[in-house]
């Protein structure tokens, strides 16, 4: 049965930029273990002949024609932004490299 450790939860929280204190980690780690165990029970039902899937619909090759559709205006695009300047989204500067 999958077991998720407190350290693993702390690592995931860090990756997801979620600030969890010690009490929250203690609280969440067992809960996540229960969720994983519940999901894992599906493995018991699915036989070896059932391939894992990432999509509920058995479809492939759903493509779009390469034809331009209208975009938003810059004003519309920026309307939900907390801050903007020079017609661009303003974000806190992140030191470090682009990915």
């Amino acid at each position: 049965m999958p077991e998720i450790s407190r350290d693993e939860v702390a690592h995931l929280a860090d990756l997801a930029r979620i600030d969890l204190d010690d009490a929250e980690l203690d609280h969440l780690a067992p809960q996540l273990s229960v969720i994983l165990e519940s999901v894992a029970s599906i493995s018991g039902v699915a036989g070896d002949d059932v391939p894992p899937t990432s999509h509920p619909m058995p479809l492939t090759n759903v493509f779009r024609e390469d034809v331009v559709t209208p975009s938003l205006t810059a004003e519309q695009a920026l309307s939900g932004a907390p801050a903007s300047d020079q017609q661009r989204f303003m974000v806190p500067r992140i030191l470090g490299d682009e990915q």
Partner: protein, 497 residues
Amino acid sequence: MTDTLVPWDDVLAAYDPALGLEVHVELNTHTKMFCGCPAVFGGEPNTQVCPTCLGLPGAMPVVNGKAVESAIRIGLALNCEIAEWCRFARKNYFYPDMPKNFQTSQYDEPICFEGWIDVEVEGETFRVEIERAHMEEDTGKSLHVGGATGRIHGADYSLVDYNRAGIPLIEIVTKPIMGAGAKAPAVARAYVSQLRDLILALGVSEARMDQGNLRADVNLSLAPKGTGGLGTRTETKNVNSFRSVERAVRYEMQRHAAVLDAGGAIFQETRHWHEDTGVTTAGRAKSDADDYRYFPEPDLVPVAPSREWVEELRGTLPENPVERRARLQSDWGYTDLEMRDVVASGVLVPIEETVAAGASPQAARKWWSSELARRANDAGVDVVDLGVSPAQVAAVQALVDAGTVNDKLARQVFDGLIAGEGTPEEIVAARGLAVVSDDGALGAAVDAAIAANPDVADKIRDGKVAAAGALIGAVMKEMRGQADAARVRELVLEKLT
């Protein structure tokens, strides 16, 4: 801080390099990878965006079929296998260049894998093996506003334009290239240059490195000579010209060797290439944050290209590069050495286009392979980024063929073209470059030259026609190179024989 570098010959004596190249190709589809926003360069900020490429809640991506077609054609041209079934995956990271907080990419199921391309370096063929070519989307462009330069005093923030976010990209990754030794920098350059030729022949991208349509990341490691191992690598990002690819490999080889010689260790990190100074500096170290938590993209269904479709696309491929080079060499009548120079200086495609625009193969080679390649080298740019088009080169040669300008004056026309002064014809007119073939003006200059050089004139009268060169030279000098040399010769001989 300046890095210590080991002399080149000492690097080669002690180490074997292993190269790896990751090249991102921005496709020239009309629309983005997963939405119908236009995928063109240079729009006003945030005017080519929609809920899908902005990652707004509820927006659903749909794959651009044309981009899949281009990906398959690139894969086939690189002799890759094409996956029968593959998926997109989310690459999760926090950086504001993607508004979704993930990039839609492919992870362990690339659409193309296990290919190769033969590249020629100084007459030797290197087989570069391709690990994979996968589909993904480009990121937005960030403008960093620092304290000193910010409009608000002390401001420290970034401004993001998402027009580029979502433009289809194909990332082509090589396997480690071993055994290139001293030729490693040249092999890296030749690979990127010949890959670009292939992409252009396929017509799937504008492939301009200066505009970022084609971007190279250079992985390099050194292993002690003869051990056949792989050392720890560094990845130099966004090296954006052929010339820089070559220089970055050489620089990293010399820098790695210095670190290793001093008993140090290379850390796996990204490096930044500085075009102006020709050095790399440390970027981000590999860390826990590089856990991208890839998982299959639930909003997109798998791509399963039928074998019929793949074979149909195989039928649309251009001639393979090796056969193509052989055919062009034969068509153009170039010697092996001339052809090698042409390939090495990355001017095969420009020459082909110049010949197609009407110039002779020899004239096209003369301008691209010597004149323009030299100027590009002096300016520190790739020849294709010099600002002179194949059609303009053909037009300049047409002026030479028509006798309007000679080769010397043509070089001044190129000065004008690079300076953006207009068409070749306009430059000839504006700069007053046309050759003088008017007998009145030439005759007066010839008479003056004869008068000034009576000894030479006497020799010619005595039948020593070869001496005419001295008088022609004097006339050319007097007319600052703008005389029609052939007509001057005729006039000299007419007057003295």
